[in-house]
Symmetry: C2
Subunit: 164 residues, 2 copies
Amino acid sequence: MPARTKLSDTFCPLGRTAEFLGDRAVILILRELFFKSARFDAITRGTGLGPQLVSARLKMLEQHDVVERRPYQQRPLRYAYHLTPKGQDLFDILYVMRNWAEKWAYAPQEVEADYAVQYLHRGCGADVGTEIHCPQCGERLGFGTVKAVLSPALARERLAKQAV
Amino acid sequence: MPARTKLSDTFCPLGRTAEFLGDRAVILILRELFFKSARFDAITRGTGLGPQLVSARLKMLEQHDVVERRPYQQRPLRYAYHLTPKGQDLFDILYVMRNWAEKWAYAPQEVEADYAVQYLHRGCGADVGTEIHCPQCGERLGFGTVKAVLSPALARERLAKQAV
DNA sequence: GCTTGATACTATGATTATCATAGTTACGAT
DNA sequence: ATCGTAACTATGATAATCATAGTATCAAGC
C-alpha cells in the first residue's frame, strides 16, 4: 500500500496512541514483555509472528523509548528486551483490553475459570475485576459517565477536519 | 501479504482484543463514534482515512456487534452508525489510551491546557485524571501492582507455544 | 426537466506491509 | 569438525491500503 497517513501530528492524544498501538504485532509483543518473556525467540514464539516483524517492531519500540535492549550475557553477546517506565505505563491499556475481552469476546470453548487471567492487587489482595472507577468517588467509569472537555487547540483541529 | 495469522482462537483475552483493536483504522473510527460523529462522511473526514477503509471496518464492526447501523432519514434512505453496549464498553480502552498519551506522547507544539482532553466525572464532578485505581483500596493500579493468575487452559496454551 | 448538491458509498490501479521459508552470524559444546 | 542455540536478515509471493475517480439516490433550484 502507499505510505499510510501520518497521525502523530495531531492534538488528539488518542490519535497519537493509535499510531503505534493500533497494530496487532505491537500489542502482542507488549503482552509478552509484560509476561516477562524478554528474549527474542520467546517473543517470536509467544506471539506467533515472523521474526522480521518482531525485529522491526522491537526496533521501533526502542526508538520510541518504550523498550530497552540490554545484554543478558557476554559471550556470545546476547540481548534481551525490557520495558522502560514509558513502556510499563502501557500496562493500563493492556489491562483494560483484557477486561473488555473477558466480558465480551469469549474464547473458543471456555471455561474452567471465571477469568482467563485473574488479577489480584498486591497491595490489598482484592480481585481488581474488569471495571475502572472514579478516583474520587469510586463509582464505575464508562461510556456516558464522563464529560470530555477539549483543549482549544484540539477543538480547532476537529472543527477544521469537518469543514468541506 | 499472505493472510495474517489468526489470533482469535486463543484463550488469551488480550490476543482476542488485539485481533480487531490492533488496527489504526478501528481505533480512529471508534474515537469518532465516541465523539458522536455518527455519519459516514463525518467519520471519514474525522479520521482522514479513505472511504473504502472506513466502509470495510464499519462492516466488520457491525458483524462483531460493536456497531449498529440505523436509518436517520427515509428519503433518501440514509444510515448512521452507533455503538452497541458491547461497543460502548470499549470506552475504557480508548480512555486509557488517552491517559497514556497525555503523559508520554506529546503533541507537536503543546500546550494551552494541562490535558488535550479533560474528563470530568458526571457523578461527582471530579477530574478523573490519567490513572486507574483499585476498586477496593483505591490505590493506583499499574505495572507490578497486580499479580496475574492464568486459568489452566491459558497456562497450557502458553506453555505449548514456548516448547520447541 | 435538467443541472447542481449532498450523502453514502464502490471500483481501479499503484504501492507497501506482512507472511512463510530459508539463510546468516557468532559462539559453545561434543 | 560438526552440531546446537540464539538472534536475527534476506527473498519472493500475496494481501491490505492509499489516492483518485466514479456510481446511486434523492431534493431543490432554475
